[in-house]
């Protein structure tokens, strides 16, 4: 697909205005454990939007997230296939990461559909020399996971629907855990700063662009 489909320039420049989300907050429950698989989140969110509190911005953000999750999920699938001689720990971690990212893809796809949006297709990707050995793979993995954290954290404050925000929070925590485990495996600081950096959409897209094959 074309990279340009992924770019939502309007969103990259959305100002965090003097709004509270209370206007959008649905007083329904988080605590009730609307937890967070697409199949579960979907109905809640759909119900929310049926009440007229919709935002096409949320769907754009979800599609943005979906693209990143596709990228990560494909990355780990390919790593399992292509990297020679993964050590036992790295193999186990990679399998876990692959399963988690695939679950994120599924949940986001389902949620977007339930909201009446159109899930973006998986981008065509090329990880270059990323799989030439375990070190290269882990290095690239760290980049993706750290970028994923910053991407979700950057986009989330613009999410309008409480349930979508809760789902994003639930996913980004996992990205943070992944990032830490990969970093730890590489002998890097699992948490390099006290506050995780946020990136706006354009910064994220710039970061992942080298791995996305331009459409034709």
């Amino acid at each position: 697909m074309s990279n340009s489909n992924l770019v939502v320039p309007e969103l990259a420049t959305v100002e965090i205005k003097g709004m509270t989300r209370s206007a959008f907050l649905l007083r329904s429950t988080l605590a009730a454990g609307a937890v967070y698989g697409g199949a579960v989140v979907g109905p809640y969110v759909k119900q929310a939007f049926a009440q007229g509190e919709g935002s096409s911005g949320d769907i754009d953000i979800l599609n943005f997230a979906l693209t990143l999750e596709y990228l990560e999920s494909t990355f780990y699938q390919e790593a399992l296939r292509q990297v020679n001689g993964l050590s036992g720990d790295v193999q186990a971690l990679t399998e876990q990461l692959e399963a988690d990212e695939a679950a994120h893809v599924e949940a986001l796809t389902q949620t977007i559909s339930d909201l009446g949006g159109k899930p973006v297709p998986a981008p065509e990707v090329d990880f270059g020399e990323g799989f030439k050995d375990e070190d290269s793979y882990l290095e690239l993995s760290q980049t993706f996971e750290d970028t994923g954290v910053s991407a979700y954290n950057g986009a989330a404050p613009e999410i309008q629907a409480t349930e979508v925000l809760a789902a994003a929070g639930s996913i980004v925590q996992i990205e943070g855990r992944h990032a830490a485990l990969i970093r730890f495996t590489r002998g890097e600081e699992p948490a390099p700063t006290a506050f995780d950096e946020t990136l706006d959409m354009q910064e994220v897209l710039d970061a992942v662009e080298p791995f996305i094959v331009k459409g034709n």
């Binding site: 509270t20 907050l25 349930e163 929070g169 925590q173 943070g176 830490a180 730890f184």
Partner: protein, 254 residues
């Protein structure tokens, strides 16, 4: 509105906050400031930072108008009050975490160097969270809660217990932030909370790994990815039950 007043927007005045405050550090240290600007996120960041400085300099020269300009992005008092409640809850948890790491370092336990370094770094992170939350609460006109002065003697018995406790406490913290995040009203406060939330998650994953725990463990608070692909929140009662043993009174709320 008096028509003698010209309504051209004045450039915001940066007011130097009190000496030694976290905000002072942010004002002087470019890299900290950049981090903080990133933390409060996006296009509103520069404005938020100016507001923050203005708010914290309130007992010094203030030429900007006061009142609601010091509140992040909401003039809804109920929303602000809800956010303050969440921030103070988070502050309580951060105080406990910071105290825990400090107590570990001050204890007779001599962790191997790698672990001592991690404890030091994580402890510094928690202290920075305390500073940032305190500053944000003050900026919003709230009163930060006191340090509950957690008592961790009961777990400072041996390294394994310390690590298991640290691993669990961080999992509890991450789940607590997740529970609150979606209720936060102000986008800036939300951005800050999320930015802390994922750091707690990083701590949790690393510590559970160090503690020899697998991806998933016995319950919600055990394991480096204890809930699988979707992290689960923990409500305040659940969190309170976890931290109660470490509160000096053995009870008490936030």
């Amino acid at each position: 509105m008096e028509d003698t007043q010209v309504s051209t927007p004045e450039p915001r005045q940066v007011i130097v906050p009190k000496k030694g405050s976290a905000l002072r550090k942010l004002a002087e240290d470019d890299s900290s400031r950049k981090k903080f600007l990133k933390m409060v996120g996006g296009a509103g960041a520069a404005t938020s930072f100016a507001l923050l400085l203005a708010a914290c300099g309130e007992d010094e020269e203030t030429t900007t108008s006061g009142g609601d300009t010091t509140e992040p992005s909401t003039d809804d008092p109920q929303a602000a009050s809800k956010d303050l409640d969440i921030l103070n809850y988070a502050l309580t948890l951060e105080f406990l975490e910071a105290k825990f790491y400090q107590d570990v370092l001050n204890s007779d336990l001599k962790p191997p160097q790698a672990i001592a370094e991690a404890v030091t770094t994580f402890g510094e992170h928690e202290a920075e969270h305390v500073d940032a939350l305190t500053a944000t609460i003050e900026m919003m006109g709230g009163t930060p809660v006191e340090d509950p002065m957690g008592n961790f003697e009961s777990v400072l018995t041996d390294l394994d217990t310390v690590l298991a406790t640290a691993a669990r406490v961080e999992n509890v913290g991450a789940a607590a932030y997740l529970n609150e995040a979606a209720d936060i009203q102000s986008p800036e406060v939300l951005a800050a909370a999320l930015s802390i939330h994922t750091v707690e998650a990083r701590h949790a994953a690393a510590l559970n790994d160090v503690a020899g725990l697998d991806f998933t463990g016995g319950d919600q608070f055990e394991g480096s990815i204890p809930d699988g692909p979707f992290a689960k929140p923990a409500d305040r009662d659940t969190v309170m039950a976890e931290i109660k043993p470490f509160l000096p009174s053995g009870g008490g709320g936030n």
